[in-house]
Symmetry: C2
Subunit: 208 residues, 2 copies
């Protein structure tokens, strides 16, 4: 019997560096399945179908919506974004741990459907660094930057809806902590059951 | 402000190898405070006061009992054994993580007083290995061995009173898992608070 993998949601306000953490985790752990979002936004230069996103036209995205095929979805600046449910469920069923990298609103929606998941909240080491990262993203006006800072601060207040906090001070150390959390979660007693009527050489307790 | 250390209770039926795990953890992690039990049993050859045990006469042990100085205690074959409370509390207050290696009955008593602790349950990889370890301990009769096996099995049923299970298959891997649990527990959101009115360079969230 295959032991289902864990669902790990890595989230946090934009500008906290959750993408960087996920990229490093992806390089370290080819055994993990990283979920890929679907979007109706056109591909940017260098973006590859099935690697960065599943690119869809509006009609087929809406058909997927009608068939309830998303774990969560949102419309941002007239484009749809969503997390297809089937690949996540299939990967978990095959025993793979699955990572979703997702914004705060999306994570809270996933949590409603999958409360058994492990929810990680990435926070920046300081306000100054959060602002620096948001500024680094583009040539936005001070007004836009202040708006994004405000949004990030409101999102930060959702910390306690998560299980773990990852302070993104040094990326590789943050990824060490994520890996420790995966290892520790696999040891929680709720994930184990006793083997009844096992042979003397068989395990006494096994993951369920 | 010093962030208090964690209380980690490593427990399990006798013969599961919790002592071996603790010894290896002790070697890896000199930063952890390992609690030392007090006992009225006379020292065996090679045992050192303050390393293996605090050796007490009956009168001073009972005076400590009267002063409520134990986190837990028991009488085994006419000898007292107990975990002195003060060193544990002082070490935690100084920011050190504290490990208690303790039998199942003792761990359940500690849990009543310190539910915020992290309770690890060490289980043998199989019944056959449990029996082999119990047999290896001495030249006991089959009757005594069977009795110990029975006791171990009853104790195993307490698994779900703990937070984590450590299957003791390969010691160093089991210790890796214990270390991951310590690291992960330090990331749980309950252990963090927001910094209110901090400077822009100060952390946004800090351990509490």
């Amino acid at each position: 019997m295959t032991v289902p993998g864990l669902l790990i949601v890595i989230s946090g306000p934009s500008g906290t560096g959750k993408g960087t953490i996920c990229k490093s985790l992806f390089q370290r752990r080819p055994d993990i399945f990283f979920s890929i979002s679907a979007t109706t936004r056109p591909p940017r230069a260098g973006e590859i179908e099935g690697v960065n996103y599943y690119f869809k036209d509006k009609k087929s995205f809406e058909e997927m919506l009608d068939r309830n095929e998303f774990l969560e979805w949102a419309m941002v600046y007239d484009n749809y974004y969503g997390t297809p449910k089937t690949p996540v469920i299939e990967a978990m069923a095959s025993g793979k741990d699955v990572v979703l990298e997702i914004d705060v609103q999306g994570a809270l929606k996933v949590r409603e459907k999958a409360p058994e998941g492990i929810y990680l909240f990435v926070v920046p080491p300081s306000l100054r660094q959060l602002r620096a990262r948001i500024e680094r993203r583009g040539t936005d006006s001070m007004e836009v930057i202040n708006k994004r800072m405000g949004k990030a601060l409101v999102e930060l207040a959702n910390l306690y809806a998560y299980n773990y906090v990852i302070v993104n001070d040094i990326v590789e150390e943050a990824v060490d902590r994520v890996e420790s959390i995966l290892k520790a979660e696999k040891c929680t007693v709720q994930r184990y059951r006793f083997v009844v009527d096992g042979e003397p050489d068989e395990p006494l307790v096994v993951p369920k």
